[in-house]
């Protein structure tokens, strides 16, 4: 067992982990159920999290690698009463069907918009290319990211 401290969505967790435990499994054990397992092999992307500012697949990260680092899951973005503009746009545009891939895809979209406030369709497609979705054909998600980007740009302008 290896003792680590990991910060998830602003809260510190001191845990003893087996060396082979993945960050995905740790997060789920800690109750962050938004982080999904679809393959455990780094292919489906349902387990995406933001690790120290970088969007990555948590099934490919060992829990011990997160020692002293901060992890963000979709729970950090918003909640049912106060959703993030991306969450709102995803729901309103019909981008959420079964929803299994969505929390991770929202984080991917958030990572994109933090670097690029007005992405093109192709840039969105590239940013979401690690998130397999079998329900939607991705069309509605691309619309949703564009819509949220617009909302966020307007919010920013209002704040200036």
């Amino acid at each position: 067992m290896i003792q680590i401290t990991v910060n998830v969505n602003g809260e510190d967790f001191d845990v003893d982990v087996m060396p082979e435990l993945t960050l995905l499994d740790l997060l789920r054990e800690l109750g962050f159920h938004s982080v999904k397992k679809g393959c455990g092999e780094g292919d489906c992307g349902a387990c995406g999290v933001i690790l120290d500012g970088i969007y990555c697949k948590s099934c490919l990260v060992l829990a011990m690698q997160a020692d002293g680092r901060s992890v963000l899951t979709v729970e950090s973005m918003g909640n049912v009463d106060e959703p993030h503009p991306l969450q709102k746009a995803f729901v309103d545009e019909g981008a959420v069907q079964c929803g299994y891939c969505i929390p991770s895809m929202l984080l991917a979209a958030d990572a994109l918009l933090s670097e690029n406030e007005d992405p093109t369709d192709d840039e969105i497609k590239e940013a979401l290319d690690g998130n397999l979705c079998r329900c939607t054909g991705y069309v509605k998600q691309i619309n949703a990211v564009k819509k949220a980007a617009k909302v966020l740009r307007e919010e920013e302008n209002d704040n200036e």
Partner: protein
């Protein structure tokens, strides 16, 4: 009939009822709903394609610390059943056992364990010693049907439970033949005859959530099954059958489901997981990992379709012949019905006096076929729509004009509807709504049919292709759906449905129907699907039935509860029911400011106290087809054989779109699946029948970056027998990519590709062979 203008809920993009809970990461799926302590289940599968188990020694596995149970054919009762989640009596053969002393494909069940952790469970599997007598396998469906082929189901107890053809001594899991008119004469009368053998390949549903089941006993000893399923009521029935416990002792809960597409219309884990809980008395979690999902769950039945068309110079189709050989793999799940649908969802498209249809489903020692979005239509429409193009070319007619001249229209019927049912005879049916003409018109405009831009580089050739499609909506006289509505104090309603939302949005669509019918906002509807203890029966989410069938059950229920509300209101007001109506939650008619909430409070607490509650059931009399026209523009790279799809157009008539964005989403999701199935999805087997690519790394489904430009066009029609004019939408658009792309490839390079997938090596070889 109410008109769309007056609808307040139907036809609007209300917020998907479960959308925000999903988007904020709520604990909604089976894996999120576990107790603190539970056992992990794991299944040992066969390394051989065909073998008899001579002996099995589980002593070491059982001795491993942390192992609670090991089950196998030696300690579990042998109950022949089908894993297909279909209505009872099932049309699929009873040829499956929880465990058997014979294994029939690489990935077949051998044993299962329950242990304290997943690692221990997997370790225990390695300690089970199995002595196999390896038997000769057969992998090709046509070979399997020949005399002298290895017999896959040589056990005595495999059988069918309805009067349909079944001959396990010849590996024939199902067979259907029907003929109309005089096909031979029809071909003789033709000016041109086109024919070919078309092959469709294995495919997997690839739900991002693999199959998962969690079972436990409640304090009273009832078995609680929380499972990722499309068919909770069939799960209850089949677990009852296989585990030999009464239905009343079982509760099946369907939480949110991470995609199904037909793959979860199957009882694959529930029986084993239940058994492990019954043996240990403890909660058990059993899931497939991605590899098991590919190999051991269900697939799209591969097919070989001998297809032939006769046409006259004027474009009249004189005869159609379709002979389908289906590979059902080791078990006959959905074999008969998928095979029948290959005819019934394809042949009626082109009314013709002479039709010959035959379907044989062969057992082989490969992974098992099952229900999969498209359900037979995907297989047969490929060859049919390619030959329609070929026939048009033979007589010098534009393929669009040829289709417009021949396709079925409103008011027409087809003898095929009556001839081909799903295990039983079909029903006679004439087409009600049909927007096909407009689909073709709008679609060809969107793709700029007839215009050809130059290719983007010298090694590339550009082409366009199309295909027209039909599906069905429910299985008439077989499927039944029911709903219950219960009024609460605040004027809200619990909508309890057996209908199973597996991610499609049906909870939202059905809530819209209830809200529209009653006259309230959709926010006042609290949908629950499905829990066999709480919700009424529904066959489940399959056969494109939820909106059309369950939607009508909800609509009827809503009408009943509305009447009860108005009766109570009339009593309160001293007026007559007929003078009252409901608008936006308020009772209208006469001078009243009464709300539904007032009526609820009155009836629950004051006078003539009773619960306002209603239930209704619905069965369908027909299965009205949705229609679609799909178009594709692509480039073929003649250096590499790569196909670059640049624009895909789907124009769809699903009747009324209850929720336009969800209907578009069904279309886009289905066509995306169709695209990667046509181009990149593929099961690759070695010579021993083992799948070599059971991962998303090597079984390639499209990611966002692979998607071409997509144009989705919903063509509104009104289907009088459906709720608010709706038909189905979920399946149809998976079928278009194979034929439309094949036709576009021909347009680009003059080569007809007759088997899927259109992989670059296949295309390049075809180019080389032609040169």
């Amino acid at each position: 009939m109410t008109t769309s203008n007056s609808w307040k809920q139907v036809g609007t993009n209300v917020r998907k009822v479960d959308g925000m809970a999903l988007a904020t990461g709520g604990s909604l799926f089976v894996n999120d709903l576990l107790d603190p302590e539970y056992l992990f289940g794991a299944i040992l599968t066969s390394p051989h394609a065909h073998a008899r188990i001579l002996s099995i020694d589980t002593s070491e596995a059982e001795a491993l610390d942390g192992v609670h149970a090991v089950i196998h054919y030696g300690n579990v009762k042998r109950v022949p059943h089908t894993t297909a989640g279909q209505g009872y009596p099932e049309p699929s053969p009873y040829d499956t056992y929880m465990f058997d002393s014979k294994v029939r494909y690489v990935g077949d069940r051998v044993a299962a364990v329950a242990a304290d952790s997943e690692d221990i469970a997997r370790e225990a599997l390695k300690l089970i010693k199995v002595d196999y007598e390896v038997l000769e396998p057969v992998f090709d469906a046509v070979e399997a049907l020949k005399d002298g082929a290895p017999i896959i189901h040589d056990e005595e107890d495999a059988r069918v439970i309805i009067p349909v053809f079944y001959d396990k001594t010849r590996n024939m899991a199902a067979k259907v033949e029907t003929s109309v008119g005089d096909p031979d004469k029809g071909f003789e009368e033709a000016d041109a005859v086109v024919e070919d053998v078309f092959e469709t390949h294995y495919g997997h549903h690839c739900p991002i959530e693999p199959h998962v089941t969690y079972t436990k006993l409640d304090p009273g000893g009832r078995l609680i099954i929380t499972t990722s399923t499309q068919v909770p009521f069939h799960v209850r029935r089949i677990v009852s059958q296989v585990c030999e416990i009464p239905v009343r002792k079982i509760r099946v809960i369907k939480p949110r489901i991470g995609g199904g597409f037909g793959g979860k219309q199957e009882i694959l884990l529930e029986d084993v997981c239940s058994k492990l809980t019954l043996v240990t008395g403890m909660p058990v979690l059993l899931n497939y990992n991605r590899e098991e999902e590919f190999v051991s769950s269900r697939t799209r039945h591969p097919s070989r379709c001998y297809t032939k068309l006769g046409v006259k110079k004027d474009g009249t189709i004189t005869a159609i012949r379709l002979h389908v050989v289906l590979n059902t793999g080791a078990y006959g799940s959905h074999a008969l019905t998928v095979g029948s649908n290959a005819g019934s969802k394809v042949l009626p498209m082109y009314p013709c006096e002479n039709i010959d249809f035959k379907m044989e489903a062969a057992y082989t020692n490969l992974p098992v076929g099952g229900a999969y979005r498209g359900y037979g239509a995907t297989q047969a429409v490929f060859g049919m729509e390619v030959l329609i193009d070929a026939a048009a070319k033979e007589i010098g007619m534009d393929p669009i004009e040829f289709r417009q001249k021949n396709h079925i229209v409103s008011g027409q019927g087809s003898p095929i509807f009556k001839a081909l049912g799903e295990g039983t005879e079909g029903v006679e049916m004439t087409i009600g709504s049909c927007g096909l003409e407009q689909c073709i018109e709008l679609g060809s405009k969107a793709i700029e049919w007839g215009e050809k831009a130059p290719p983007s580089s010298p090694s590339r050739k550009r082409g366009k292709g199309c295909a027209i499609l039909m599906q069905g909506s429910s299985i008439p006289h077989v499927d039944m759906g029911a709903a219950t509505l219960k009024l609460n104090e605040d004027g809200s309603f619990n909508l309890l449905m057996g209908a199973t939302d597996l991610g499609t949005g049906s909870d939202t669509v059905l809530s819209q129907i209830a809200a529209e019918e009653i006259g309230v906002d959709v926010e006042m509807i609290i949908p629950l699907s499905s829990d066999t203890d709480i919700t009424p029966f529904d066959v489940g989410a399959y056969a494109s039935s939820t909106t059309y069938l369950s939607g009508m059950a909800v609509k009827k229920t809503a009408a009943l509860i509305k009447h009860q509300i108005l009766e109570a209101a009339a009593e309160m007001l001293g007026s007559s029911v007929t003078s009252l109506t409901i608008e936006n939650g308020n009772i209208r008619g006469g001078n009243t400011d009464l709300t539904i909430s007032d009526v609820a409070l009155h009836t629950l607490y004051s006078e003539n106290q009773h619960q306002i509650i209603a239930s209704a059931s619905h069965i369908t009399e027909k299965s009205p087809p949705p229609f679609a026209a799909h178009f594709v523009e692509l480039e073929v790279d003649e250096d590499t054989g790569m196909i670059d799809v640049q624009h895909y157009v789907a124009a769809v008539d699903c009747g009324t779109t209850i929720h336009p964005k969800l209907a578009e989403g069904q279309t886009e999701g289905a066509l995306a699946n169709g695209l990667s199935y046509a181009l990149t999805e593929q099961y690759i087997f070695n010579e021993k029948g083992k799948m070599l690519n059971p991962s998303f790394g090597h079984y390639k489904i499209f990611a966002s970056s692979d998607m071409p430009k997509v144009t989705t066009i919903m063509v509104p029609t009104y289907e009088a027998t459906g709720p608010y004019g709706a038909k189905s939408v979920s399946e149809i658009s998976i079928n278009g990519a194979l034929p439309a792309i094949a036709n576009a490839i021909y347009d680009a390079i003059g080569i007809r590709i007759t088997s899927g997938p259109f992989s670059p090596d296949k295309i390049l070889k075809a180019i080389r062979d032609k040169a």
